[in-house]
Amino acid sequence: MTAPVESQPTESLSRRLPPVAELTVASLVLVVVGGIFMASYFPRRPPLAVPISLFIASGILVVVGMVMLSQVHDFAWQTFTLVGRWALLAYVLQAGMIEYAFVRNHASGAPLVVVTLLLLLFAVDPPLIISFTVARYQST
């Protein structure tokens, strides 16, 4: 309660890191657009070319972000992993709930596979953004 807030120079604020959060947010945007597209047709069978393209583009953005992040030295990987693990658990549960809603309403076949793939990225994107945002301000 009485410890003064740090007065040392804020290196973590001026440090340049790859645009992992920006890439992952862009990936999340594509996933959300794909999800809206699928949901807007449900319970009819939607055309799958658009959501599959969105999934591929979204996946590429996440992979590029992760590759860029893996090349960063002096990063708080321990914090990144700790936060990412718990956030992933929370978002896997959320994605599972959405998947359940589709399965419960008789989604099947290729549309269900596409929904599942989009939900997979939905479960990965926010934990990646959260853990990166937290870890970038932590000391290694």
């Binding site: 009485t2 003064p4 807030v5 007065s7 999340l28 807007s40 419960r104 945002t133 937290v134």
Partner: protein
């Protein structure tokens, strides 16, 4: 909103600022309540129980909208005008609750709402509500990206910063500014949601 940006120092850590209480990132005591609510929601969906679905969608939606409006348009601007120590102390107590409440409320509202829309055939292309629901999907999608991509990461990063023995006022200020702006945007977008949902309910 412009005022808030002016009040928060753009640079320079808050030297000599008193550290706020060390916050718990996720209030563990609340997790059983979340689990009970989610299990109840699963049962309602599995049984297609109209009352339960209505309850979760209406009560969850009312909470979600009210909290977003209140935080975005009332708490946010007040928070933006507080000193960084006061803001940090408020956040240390406020943000852990938001970490638990908001994802739960959003999950309950959306899952129950989707099931209701299917049950009431509002998603059918022939339904007069179809276009309105698509509009609400788009709004919720934009809100989801803002909340999951910007607001929540900033919220959790603030909590981690405040758990340090010597929290950095500049980092807290920067992240809180992000929180205040995005909360304001979400609050305004909730007005559009209310307009759409009242239209759907009366059509």
């Amino acid at each position: 909103m412009t005022d808030q940006a002016q009040v928060i120092p753009a640079s320079g850590p808050a030297i000599g600022m008193e550290a706020p209480p060390r916050p718990q990132v996720v209030p563990v005591k609340g997790l059983p309540i979340v689990a009970i609510l989610v299990v109840a929601l699963v049962i309602c969906i599995a049984e297609d129980w109209r009352w339960g679905l209505d309850f979760f969608h209406v009560a969850g939606g009312a909470l979600w909208t009210s909290i977003d409006l209140f935080v975005g348009l009332a708490i946010g601007p007040i928070l933006g005008r507080l000193s960084i120590p006061a803001r940090a102390e408020f956040s240390a107590r406020f943000m852990p609750k938001m970490v638990l409440i908001m994802p739960t409320v959003v999950l309950l509202t959306l899952a129950a709402g989707f099931q209701l829309a299917l049950k009431l055939h509002n998603l059918d292309a022939s339904s007069p509500n179809h276009t309105w629901l698509l509009a609400s999907f788009v709004i919720v999608g934009v809100m989801a990206v803002i909340a999951l991509g910007v607001l929540e990461p900033a919220n959790i990063a603030v909590l981690f910063e405040m758990r340090k023995p010597q929290p950095n006022g500049e980092i807290i200020g920067k992240l809180m500014r992000r929180f205040v702006y995005t909360a304001g945007i979400l609050g305004v977008m909730q007005i559009a949601t209310v307009v759409i949902m009242t239209r759907v309910a009366t059509q």
